[in-house]
């Protein structure tokens, strides 16, 4: 079982991270009834005897004493991190895990420092996989320079990340609206189990979820939990993080995965029959459940992973793959491009769940749009001087970045071009017997 370190950068990263640790504690508390520090919990937490100072306080087995998150919290301002340290999660981090500086960097931290870190991690720990969840700006983004930040960040993501899970706020917001509709639909006999909401946090964060970002961040936190569940918990077909990369990344730079989570909630009322298992699979391929706006069904699949949790067996999985396959287009050399996993432990509040990760050319429009917004600004050199003032930044950084993105878009274009072509008949080796 692998252990993972979560690096949370900037306001966005830290707020999501906060939700994640909250949910992770809840999930492990539900499974780990005896309070023993086991392999599963060691994936994200250290066990420390807080009475002992320094590194000798860490305990590798036995009863849980005090859990510390395997996390590094980075921000250029103290505000967000301070809030975390004063909140209910304060004991989960120790002071050595925080890096804050007083001078702000004006909406550049996550994208800039965050992606810089990727290169550092690659140099220091070349064998350790780097998974990045990135929040992509929506077109109504109020940060004017966000296209610059995004393109510069994309170059780093292209070159130094093993796997990127792009997410956009609009999709998260749409998911929340959909849930609100169900929860507030006014029907007396439809009650949703509160803990089962993909947007709900655990008991620790009891404060009112007045900010919409809290609910949205919880969705991303759930994504991270489900991504790692098969590595942490037992199942009949395990899948570790390195298998995600191995199976879903056919060419090094094509490592952007569209994620869909289902179910978004569970109905509490026992009179309503539980959502049929097959419905869960169908939902995973519906745009309503995606964490980024894209249209995979009308684009080309390079690979697809289905990570199932709970009481689901191999026959259920196979039946649904057969059922859904005809409506999806896979690239000619990967017609059966499915990677699957079965984890026995469902998420809290559910009997089963599914995370679908698709490597699909449908991400191309997002990148094309990013490039267009970048070019609109760059042609006029608008706001460029702010960046060029920083030591080490030159115009060549910008031209290289946009060319890296263009090359990526071109790779997707070439694959898309194969969509309507017939499957090539490649002659096999002929052997003299």
């Amino acid at each position: 079982m692998t252990q993972s370190v979560v690096v949370q950068v900037g306001q966005c990263g830290n707020q999501i991270g906060c939700c994640f640790w909250d949910l992770a504690l809840r999930e492990h508390a539900a499974v780990n009834q005896k309070g023993i520090y086991d392999e599963a919990i060691s994936s994200f937490f250290r066990n420390v005897d807080t009475r002992v100072a320094g590194d000798s306080g860490s305990i590798s087995k036995g009863k849980i004493c005090s859990l510390k998150a395997r996390a590094v919290l980075i921000d250029m301002e103290e505000g967000v991190v301070n809030e975390i340290l004063q909140g209910p999660l304060r004991d989960v981090f120790d002071s050595k895990q925080l890096i804050t500086d007083i001078s702000g960097s004006g909406n550049n931290t996550g994208s800039g420092l965050g992606t810089f870190l990727l290169k550092v991690l690659e140099d220091e720990f070349p064998e350790v996989y780097r998974f990045v969840t990135s929040i992509y700006p929506s077109s109504e983004d109020d940060v004017i320079t966000s296209p610059y930040n995004s393109i510069l960040a994309m170059k780093e993501l292209n070159e130094h990340a093993d796997c990127v899970l792009p997410i956009d706020n609009q999709s998260l917001f749409d998911i929340i609206s959909k849930i609100d509709l169900v929860v507030n639909s006014g029907k007396l006999d439809t009650t949703v189990k509160p803990k089962s909401l993909v947007i709900s946090s655990a008991g620790a964060l009891k404060k009112q979820q007045k900010k919409p970002f809290d609910a949205m961040n919880n969705i991303v936190a759930n994504l991270l939990l489900n991504l790692t569940s098969s590595a942490r918990f037992e199942g009949s077909l395990n899948m570790d993080l390195n298998e995600i990369s191995m199976n879903l990344v056919p060419f090094p730079r094509l490592h952007y995965l569209v994620s869909s989570l289902t179910p978004l909630y569970t109905l509490a009322d026992v009179n309503i029959p539980p959502r049929r298992l097959d419905q869960m699979f169908s939902d995973a391929f519906s745009k309503d459940h995606q964490l980024i706006r894209a249209d995979p069904k009308h684009s080309l699949y390079l690979a697809c992973a289905l990570m199932v949790r709970g009481n689901v067996q191999i026959s259920d999985l196979r039946r649904n793959i057969e059922r859904l396959k005809p409506s999806l287009q896979f690239v000619s050399w990967n017609q059966e491009g499915w990677k699957t996993s079965l984890c026995s432990v469902p998420p809290v509040g559910h009997s089963h769940s599914l995370l679908a990760l698709a490597n699909n050319t449908c991400v191309k429009p997002t990148f094309v749009e990013l490039r267009e917004r970048f070019m609109r600004l760059y042609k006029k050199k608008a706001h460029l001087h702010h960046y060029l003032q920083v030591e080490g930044m030159e115009e060549s950084c910008f031209t290289e970045a946009v060319s890296s993105l263009s090359a990526l878009i071109q790779e997707y274009n070439q694959l898309d071009a194969t969509k309507s072509m017939p499957v090539p008949d490649i002659p096999r080796l002929s052997i003299a017997v």
């Binding site: 077909l237 067996q313 196979r318 057969e322 059966e336 096999r428 080796l429 002929s430």
Partner: protein
């Protein structure tokens, strides 16, 4: 004569458990049509082959468990111990933390050499506990990274170190559609390597066993546990003692000898023979089973051909190759594997 079993990866370990459980249950179940004396001989023979006697009477499986991550081994060891009827050796396992990432190259070129000494030592210890070793039974899947890659590596080592003992590999052929995306690459690399170092390859296809569960056993929601149990029953029937030609009351001493017969050599035994009431089967029916297996020896050519075809298609586009080359398996190694397997396919078609 004893068999040392090596179970590799999640698949190998999950199946290995079911096999030992089945063998144990069978040897202690009702004797059916045979006499009491016969039954005792049967039981003793089975025990000697697969189990070591412990002081307090709980038999210990003659097995080495290998996996590159701990969850499955932990589960397997505890399931056996909990049954109270038999168990695995306390130190008979080797495991790591990170898994092989479904990467044959990582299993074969990184994990294999890195852990060669530890794994071979464990096997050696098991061998030393046998009065006389008949051979090795290696259980592995082809689709993943550990069973396939390390399985191929270990089999090669066994060939070098124990040249006079027989090696039989139980390989699990993955479902045709998607368990692992790179399963075809992993499969051709595994088969081409095993072809050179294994004495016999016993194949079970997940698709075939799945059909048995669905159509013959009418199981509605088929789990891997169901599949593995059917598999174990079939394997059990192959491994339980059989009479040799000399006549009754002498069980064939070397259970793997039957596979030295040239007619059976490299034959791919087809698993689609449903076992109905396997428990009452003793010696005679084993012969019948052996005969019918031979006649199906060409049956696996089609699936083999299909796997080679799909792998070739993917190879032509160079997809996923960077994942293998970064651990030292180059395009040339792939080509060697393709060439060898195309020869196998051609030879079978010419039979």
């Amino acid at each position: 004569m004893s068999i040392v079993t090596v179970q590799l990866g999640q698949c190998g370990n999950q199946i290995g458990f079911e096999v030992f459980d089945t063998l144990f249950s069978d040897s202690h179940s009702s004797q059916g049509l045979c006499s009491k004396r016969e039954n005792e001989a049967y039981r003793a023979s089975c025990k000697e082959r697969f189990f070591n006697e412990e002081e307090n009477g709980v038999p210990i499986a003659r097995a080495v468990l290998v996996d590159m991550e701990p969850k499955v081994i932990n589960q397997t060891l505890s399931k056996a111990a909990q049954s109270g009827r038999w168990k695995y050796g306390q130190h008979a396992y080797f495991c790591q933390k990170q898994g092989s990432g479904n990467n044959w190259a990582y299993g074969y070129s990184v994990h294999g050499p890195r852990h060669e000494e530890s794994i071979m030592n464990l096997i050696q210890k098991e061998v030393e506990k046998c009065d006389s070793l008949s051979g090795f039974f290696i259980i592995m899947s082809m689709a993943g990274g550990t069973g396939s890659g390390i399985g191929a590596f270990v089999t090669q080592n066994l060939q070098d170190q124990y040249a006079h003992s027989l090696k039989m590999n139980q390989i699990i052929w993955p479902y045709g559609t998607g368990e692992v995306i790179v399963q075809n690459y992993n499969s051709i690399l595994t088969l081409s390597h095993l072809y050179r170092s294994s004495d016999a390859l016993l194949v079970h296809e997940n698709d075939a066993v799945h059909k048995i569960c669905a159509k013959l056993m009418n199981i509605k929601q088929i789990s891997f546990s169901d599949i593995n149990q059917v598999l174990a029953h079939q394997l059990g029937s192959v491994f339980q003692p059989v009479y040799c030609a000399e006549g009754s009351f002498h069980y064939r001493r070397n259970p793997l000898e039957g596979f030295k017969d040239p007619a059976l050599y490299t034959s791919w035994l087809h698993p689609i023979h449903a076992l109905n009431v396997w428990k009452t089967q003793r010696a005679f029916s084993k012969y019948e089973k052996s005969a019918s297996l031979v006649s199906n020896s060409q049956f696996l050519v089609k699936p083999l051909d299909m796997i080679v075809g799909k792998a070739w298609n993917m190879f032509a586009s160079k997809a996923y190759l960077h994942q293998y080359t970064k651990f030292g398996i180059e395009e040339e190694d792939f080509l060697d594997s393709f060439t060898l397997l195309e020869q196998v396919v051609a030879s079978y078609y010419n039979l």
